[in-house]
């Protein structure tokens, strides 16, 4: 049954996933192509100088990609479930409703994790040709917050989809906007290092919003 739950999610998301992967590949390639030209013309020293002396990690062009990917993937997975109240079919399957919801969400979070990990790996491999590992790690730690925003965007978008009333959707959107804005507030590299675990905990806890939406759906809440 678990295999079939994944199969259903795959059918819903395969084209969106392909689009996300291609976009990530294209934008990441563009980002490093630009940096390679700088290295070619003015030398890697310029990258060092920028990384050490300026508030940049040189990969800012990638900043909002994970968030967009999270929102798109959540929409692809959860909009078909709530359209025509199809969620009733899913909840009627002879399978624990709680585990079903968790498996669906884990599929999305895992798919995003794979894409983010691949991008981080490629970034590390390319960057280490030009700068020392300490600077590469600094860039990756900064990018980790962007990936966290991707997961948060996924979970909040899923919660908004599952919520049956517009009033509560508006509340969720405000919460989501506030949390995501917090993740993008600082332009300083590694600004979030100190409380990254707390932010991660918030993201993990936001899984409960999905259960809240389904519980309200089962109560028959509607506008």
């Amino acid at each position: 049954m678990n295999r079939m739950i994944i199969y259903k999610e795959w059918l819903k998301t395969r084209w969106a996933l392909l689009g996300v992967v291609l976009t990530f590949a294209a934008v990441t390639f563009y980002c490093f192509l630009n940096l390679s030209k700088v290295v070619e013309i003015r030398g890697a020293e310029l990258l060092w100088e920028a990384l050490v002396e300026k508030d940049t990690v040189l990969t800012e062009i990638l900043k909002y990609l994970p968030l967009a990917a999270g929102v798109i993937l959540a929409a692809c997975q959860f909009l078909p479930e709530v359209t025509h109240k199809r969620l009733k079919l899913t909840l009627h399957l002879p399978y624990s409703q709680g585990r079903m919801l968790l498996n669906i969400a884990l599929y999305g979070l895992a798919a995003l994790a794979v894409i983010f990990a691949l991008q981080a790996l490629v970034s590390a491999l390319v960057l280490q040709q030009w700068v020392v590992w300490e600077l590469v790690a600094r860039i990756l730690r900064t990018m980790a917050v962007w990936y966290l925003a991707g997961w948060a965007g996924y979970l909040f978008a899923a919660a908004v989809c599952l919520e049956p009333t517009w009033r509560m959707r508006a509340v969720l959107l405000v919460l989501a906007a506030g949390f995501v804005a917090l993740l993008f507030k600082s332009e300083v590299p590694e600004a979030y290092n100190g409380f990254f675990p707390v932010l991660l905990l918030y993201v993990v806890l936001s899984v409960s919003l999905l259960y809240h939406g389904v519980a309200r759906f089962k109560e028959g809440k509607q506008d």
Binding site: M1, R3, M4, Y7, K8, L11, K12, P80, H84, K85, R86, K88, L89, L91, H92, L93, P94, Y95, S96, F217, K218, E219, G220
Partner: protein
């Protein structure tokens, strides 16, 4: 004595301040085909939603196979085939994908029942459900219900989208199937034609309450020469 498959006691529900019904009680015995009939807006789908645990009633309770409908276990859900109003299905799947998906959840899955119906439809296994006609989609949904081989079939407005010929054929097929296999059927419909040949018992609802709940034959005997549709209109008034 064996408990009826469905027991609803004193159901009361409101949408905001609008009363749908108050103290509605009914039972569905094992092996019976019961039709819940009523005009639009009388609470037929509301009742199905309550029965399937997708709506918490303001008052009263329902049990299916002895379990509170607010907490139906997966094992009991396996015994209930549900057809949603409008024959809603996972329409982004194709004929083969949806069969593959559902069959993994139901140990008594009858693949032949599903593909037999698909063969009659002349649809290819790779055909996407969303690209099919309304009638074809409804038959895919019905095929899946039959393949599930459940003990209780809950059909919400099953006749929607079916042409008259197929509707009659389906009613006959469903009755033969339910009687031969000892299935219990609880259905709602706003099209009364053909139902007199299908249902054992009718529940006719009007706004706020049940008007009639008795065996179809008893009801028909009270109105000699009239069809079930005529009786329905006599009881509920013309639209």
């Amino acid at each position: 004595m064996e408990e009826p498959v469905i027991v609803c006691e004193n159901l009361t529900h409101y949408y905001g301040n609008r009363k749908i019904y108050e103290n509605l009680s009914f039972e569905v015995a094992q092996g019976n085909i019961v039709g819940l009939l009523g005009k639009n807006g009388t609470g037929k789908t509301t009742t199905i939603n309550i029965l399937m645990g997708y709506l918490k009633p303001r008052g009263g309770s329902c049990r299916i196979f002895g379990e509170d409908v607010q907490h139906i276990s997966p094992a009991t859900r396996e015994r209930i085939a549900l057809l949603l109003e409008g024959h809603v299905q996972y329409s982004y799947m194709n004929i083969a994908q949806i069969e593959k998906f559902y069959s993994a959840f139901y140990p008594r899955w009858n693949r032949d029942a599903y593909y037999g119906l698909m063969e009659k439809l002349k649809v290819a296994p790779g055909q996407i459900i969303s690209r099919m006609s309304n009638g074809q989609r409804s038959q895919v949904a019905l095929g899946l219900i039959l393949a599930q081989n459940a003990d209780l079939l809950v059909l919400d407005d099953f006749s929607l989208g079916l042409d008259p010929g197929y509707r009659r054929l389906f009613c006959e097929y469903l009755r033969d199937y339910a009687k031969a296999e000892g299935k219990t059927v609880f259905l709602t419909s706003h099209i009364i034609q053909d139902l007199e040949k299908l249902v054992d018992e009718v529940i006719i609802m009007d706004y706020g309450s049940i008007l009639v709940q008795e065996p179809a034959k008893t009801l028909m005997a009270k109105f000699p020469g009239e069809t079930l549709e005529d009786i329905f209109i006599d009881l509920t008034g013309k639209y």
